[in-house]
């Protein structure tokens, strides 16, 4: 009996010591090979191979690859790395295995598009990823939103972004703000004619009072931003001809000149001593980029999103300029 108990005790002790020692060895080996880890290697780089290996359980393998992509991005982001070499491949495989995994397109594109160290700084690949998502699911407006964001925010291609937002706005069930975004980016990219058309369309098609009011403000801003350069050019021509700036718009009109002299709210544009033209009350035009007094910073005025504005219709309808 004692002999048996003795054997049991010795066996337990050997077990415990062996396990502890092996754990220590593993830790030491990990420290030795810390610089040569295989984490930056795609174990199976081909989605085709993975589809075969997964025996039809593609969705599960896609989930695991997406998790891997998230962990990869997280560890690189945490170490403030500027290289995310594997990120696109992981996301590409994930979306090949499960083309309907929306989060992989949405978040994956953000991870790819943002500049280092926040992201991979690969907006072209981000756009390619989202375009792949759109091919598989053209009725998902959120993907168009993602793509438009990448084009506008990271690639500064406002015209392309505007077109993408517009395509997305036509998808059944799309958030009405997509149309707003299309017009905003067109305006930001300098395409005044398209922006004016889009804001007019928004004004005429929406029943939401807040969106209509916002569209009016945008149209007014477009008019001011178009008027100001034209007026300043006319003042310059007058100065070159006469040798001084005109004292009033009436003096200019007396020479046969015809142009806009009042802003969309009816207040006269102001002729400044240095030849610039300013609006009388900048606060009435939160979205203008011209005609502002020097040093004036307009207050942040977000474009109204229907989700925030609510759906209630008020009695007084704002009038189009």
């Amino acid at each position: 009996m004692l002999k048996k108990r003795g054997i049991t005790v010795v066996a337990f002790a050997v077990l415990a010591v062996s396990l502890a020692a092996s754990a220590l060895i593993v830790h030491l080996v990990d420290r030795m090979s810390a610089d040569t880890r295989l984490e930056d290697v795609l174990y199976l780089p081909s989605a085709r191979v993975l589809k075969r290996v997964s025996l039809g359980y593609n969705t599960l393998v896609a989930d695991l690859y997406w998790t891997r992509a998230v962990q990869y991005f997280g560890s690189k982001h945490h170490s403030r790395s500027s290289r995310y070499d594997l990120l696109y491949s992981l996301l590409d495989i994930t979306t090949d295995l499960d083309p309907r995994l929306l989060v992989a397109y949405q978040f994956g594109s953000i991870f790819l598009a943002q500049s280092p160290p926040e992201g991979a700084g690969q907006p072209l690949l981000a756009a390619k990823l989202v375009e792949k998502g759109i091919r598989h699911d053209p009725e998902n407006w959120k993907l168009y939103y993602n793509l438009g964001w990448i084009l506008a925010s990271e690639m500064k291609d406002y015209q392309a972004a505007s077109k993408v937002f517009e395509r997305g706005s036509k998808v059944p069930g799309a958030n009405p703000a997509m149309g707003v975004l299309a017009a905003t980016t067109a305006q930001h990219g300098g395409d005044v004619a398209t922006a004016r058309l889009m804001w007019t369309q928004i004004y005429e098609t929406t029943e939401n009072t807040a969106i209509r009011a916002n569209a009016i403000k945008r149209l007014q801003a477009l008019r001011v931003d178009t008027d100001i350069p034209q007026l300043e050019q006319s003042l310059k021509q007058f100065q070159e001809a006469i040798g001084r700036l005109p004292r009033s718009w009436a003096e200019m009109q007396a020479t046969g000149w015809r142009g806009p002299t009042v802003d969309p709210l009816g207040s006269p544009y102001l002729i400044m001593p240095d030849g610039h033209v300013e609006v009388a009350d900048p606060e009435e035009f939160p979205f203008i980029t011209r005609g502002l007094p020097p040093g004036y910073k307009p207050p942040f005025t977000p474009d109204i999103s229907p989700a925030l504005a609510g759906n209630s219709q008020q009695n007084s309808q704002p009038q189009k300029p």
Partner: protein
């Protein structure tokens, strides 16, 4: 009929005594629980990974149970010589085979039921409620049961004429090929001449398990057409009937010595 039920009940009773069964069920439930962990270290896929991992675990472990128990259904009885005792009773050979089939199938249905309870409990815990879209998960589970019908019949077929090891290998290989049945049919359509004939024959001979795998669709809350449910059910019944009939044919002529 009574003989079939008796053999089936006996088979069920022996199967539930097998410890491997409980280990596999526990492992499947652990995997379902592990999906919570995966959801914690990922973004936006908590529900999807729970459904994918849960249904995959139920399916794969069920296939493992079906194969490991199924391949020994006949061969073990022959090995232990207990089959002579059974067949001296008023139990015909075909009744023995059919009873074995229903016994194992019943075992798998009960296992699936318990694993499904664990699965839905995990889902309710994760989402704090069950929703109408979860109804499609029941359909996916039904398709998994149909998968078991086919695999059980195949395991029984192989068990009727080969050793347990060979039967296990054949059954697993057919399971794997069955998951690529759609690719095989596409290959057959693209082939010409004798290759096309042979490939077409093979494509329709292997079980169409790809059609029964709807895990990806239900994980994305996609509806399943009622016609698919109907056709898959009829297909599984017909295929299993054919496999069991083949097992009966082989076993009727088998020399027990």
């Amino acid at each position: 009929m009574r003989s079939i039920l008796l053999v089936a009940f006996n088979t069920f009773r022996e199967a539930v005594r097998d410890r491997v069964l409980y280990n596999l069920i526990v492992f499947a439930l652990l995997l379902i629980g592990a999906s919570f962990l995966v959801g914690q270290i990922s973004i936006g896929i908590e529900r999807q990974v729970l459904i994918s991992l849960g249904l995959t675990a139920i399916s794969l472990f069920g296939v493992v149970i079906a194969v490991f128990i199924g391949v020994g259904l006949v061969s073990k009885e022959i090995e232990k010589r207990t089959i002579y005792t059974v067949l001296t009773r008023p139990v015909r050979r075909w009744q023995f085979i059919v009873g074995k089939f229903f016994g194992l199938f019943g075992t798998l249905v009960v296992n699936t039921f318990f694993m499904a309870i664990g699965f839905f409990a995990a889902l309710a815990l994760q989402a704090h409620r069950l929703q109408w879209a979860d109804g499609w998960l029941v359909v996916a589970l039904w398709f998994i049961v149909l998968e078991f019908v086919i695999i059980t019949a195949l395991a029984l077929l192989f068990s009727s004429f080969s050793t347990p090891l060979e039967s296990a290998v054949f059954a697993f290989v057919l399971f794997i090929i069955g998951t690529f049945s759609e690719d095989l049919r596409e290959f057959a359509q693209a082939a010409h001449g004798l290759t096309r004939i042979v490939a077409s024959g093979a494509a329709y001979l292997v079980p169409n398990l790809a059609a029964l795998n709807v895990v990806g669709r239900v994980a994305h809350d996609q509806a399943l057409p009622p016609s698919l449910i109907f056709y898959n059910t009829i297909y599984a019944a017909l295929y299993a009937t054919a496999a069991v009939a083949a097992a009966v044919l082989i076993f009727e002529r088998r020399d027990m010595k």
